[in-house]
Subunit: 377 residues, 2 copies
């Protein structure tokens, strides 16, 4: 058996055009050398109080055994089996927090779990902050990126001439220049909004977070990350699933695979809220608390010709919330400008007021999401 990924696409989007639109939004990379910093370590702030963990570590969810040829394995030995499509997860459980609701944080396009860690300018990331607030936190790398790896077979096949070059999936990365308008740091590169919350002086550090993303064509359909998220939520006896940008709708898709394990869904600046759910799917999702989070300057032209603005995406999510509400659900929108905060960007978990936003999400979890029924071992 030979591994060959299918045509991977963002799930639940309206059409193949929309798929690209959703994809483009997502997450990314950026940079445009404003005050470039050669060394990030010196800028990292040390907290005033220690972090006390019951446990920390990493593990994998999912994965498929496939047999590949010697050539597909890079000719370092005979052909044989490897594992692909596994999802790497790093976790931290706070001391005394094992009765609290676990939170799973999934990154966006061309990024990895690093999104949720130390911010580009050296402040605490949401991963640690949520742990300090008592929640076990699980941070995956999506299948196909980072420590989850990807299926290299087709690339080696093309290299050896046994497959056509045009059968290769494409790798995407966002340029530093595109990130400025698309992530709403400013209307153009190097020109931040007057009220910009993103730490633009450290924008080169965000550029370093970028990795090539083969989601469009190099990951099977449906994306194995969805099942892995659902299984992860089940393994921890229920969790809040949080997605961002390209993975913004992943919590919805994972919840539909196993609604009992998805105790709450947080969609942070989602690339899109699926408009085509059936009434049955809406009925199911209406049983789960859902929070959609959007920042400011949403009508900024993205800098990507033909792509919708974040305001259009926001409106799509408003429409989904409307359907859920009509079905008796408790979905709600958290638009930061309506809460008195200006200038929040697409990378809201890295913005200068990121912990203020986190507090709003934590409050929502406390108020809307039920406590776990079983305790983590």
């Amino acid at each position: 058996m030979q591994a060959r990924p299918g045509q991977g696409v963002i799930i639940d989007a309206r059409s193949s055009r929309a798929l690209i639109l959703v994809g483009i939004a997502l997450a990314g990379v950026l940079g445009a050398s404003v005050n470039a910093r050669a060394q990030a370590l010196k800028d990292i702030q040390t907290p005033d109080t220690p972090l006390v963990l019951k446990a920390q570590g990493s593990f994998f969810v999912g994965g498929d055994k496939v047999e590949q040829t010697a050539g597909e394995l890079g000719d370092l030995g005979p052909g044989g089996n490897i594992t692909i499509n596994q999802m790497y997860v790093r976790y931290m459980v706070p001391q005394g927090g094992d009765r609290n609701m676990p939170v799973v944080m999934v990154h966006g396009a061309t990024l990895t779990g690093k999104s949720w860690e130390t911010t580009p300018d050296g402040r605490m990331g949401w991963d640690e902050y949520f742990v300090r607030k008592g929640h076990p936190v699980y941070v995956p790398d999506q299948v196909g990126r980072g420590r989850s790896g990807f299926n290299q077979a087709i690339f080696n096949d093309v290299r050896a001439g046994s497959a056509q070059a045009n059968s290769l999936p494409r790798w995407i990365r966002f340029s530093d220049e595109v990130v400025w308008p698309n992530f709403r740091f400013g209307s153009k590169p190097g020109a931040p909004f007057a009220d910009a919350q993103f730490p633009v002086a450290a924008v080169d550090e965000l550029s370093k977070q970028g990795v090539p993303d083969v989601t469009f064509g190099g990951v099977p359909t449906p994306n194995p990350t969805l099942k892995a998220l659902s299984d992860l939520a089940s393994q921890v006896n229920g969790a809040v699933l949080m997605g961002h940008s390209q993975s913004g709708s992943f919590p919805l898709a994972a919840a539909l695979l196993n609604p009992a394990a998805a105790k709450g869904l947080v969609l942070v600046e989602p690339g899109g809220c699926p408009p085509n759910y059936t009434e049955q799917q809406i009925t199911t999702l209406a049983t789960i608390p859902i929070l959609v989070v959007f920042g400011d300057h949403r009508d900024t032209p993205t800098g990507l010709p033909g792509f919708p603005t974040w305001q259009e995406r926001f409106e799509g999510c408003q429409a989904m919330i409307g359907r859920l509400t009509k079905a008796g659900g408790q979905a709600q929108m958290l638009a930061t400008p309506e809460r008195g905060m200006r200038g929040n960007s697409h990378m809201i978990m890295q913005d200068k007021n990121n912990l203020q936003i986190a507090d709003l999400i934590l409050k929502w979890i406390d108020e809307r999401v039920s406590k776990p029924t079983r305790v983590r071992k």
Copy 2:
């Protein structure tokens, strides 16, 4: 300017043949479905006492800005700049441990920093253990792998027909079958040595740690990881640099770039110890405490035709230690069978007696490596 990596090779190896030999040894992946485990999380052990951290987080070292075309960026927008060749680093600093010597742990081929985290069967990894013993620990992903990303330009160029397929670098992964003899779990797949220390029942979890590795041709020469390791050691005011397998000689190379920052070097099952150092280089390395660690069953045929056994690599390191000793150095070999331990594998940091091995390294650091002269902020 267009980014195009050079012909990346393992540094300091004897010849292009030897380069491949060193490469093949390295690290890897494996599996051969013995007692496959679908869910790893349930097998993870929770420590008896909490982990108390002064700080934890992540950052990048190094990185180059390059301009790429729209096609090279995956056609999601116009051409522009991105960052490549950066090195991701995750760190943990123990409460009260900021006066102790930092330890940097670098993984081997086709692997990521995951190597040092929770073991395949759910025990504590060396990253946490060294922190619990008082040391700040820094775990990078090598440039070209994991959260450090790689340069995707050539792959998109070939896809678009603007570069030839045979110009592609190859991606390597080790098959599950090759790992058994090459990592010395047993002489053949599924047949562990009677005294095997590797947790072979969890071998499928090690298979999941594998990621495609483009070090041979897809990473510039010299490998940017070497300078990044040297810079990292400098940024933390001096560190013990630990490499494994393919990166086994990286601590030596990084030390030669900045000897003052490399306070101690630990070569864990190195793919090779360079035989071609000049007398000047040996004189420099003789000023730094060096420990080389090898396990058992070293004369096992690797299962990779034409490749040297680990015993041959061991003997090459003995020869280097001889040169260093003659130059007044304090390099030494830690061969676990000579310390009364049998059955240790190539993945010694994941073996069942991994903490016993760690204790020997910690004792060596205490006895041979001087204390930091400055305290981490």
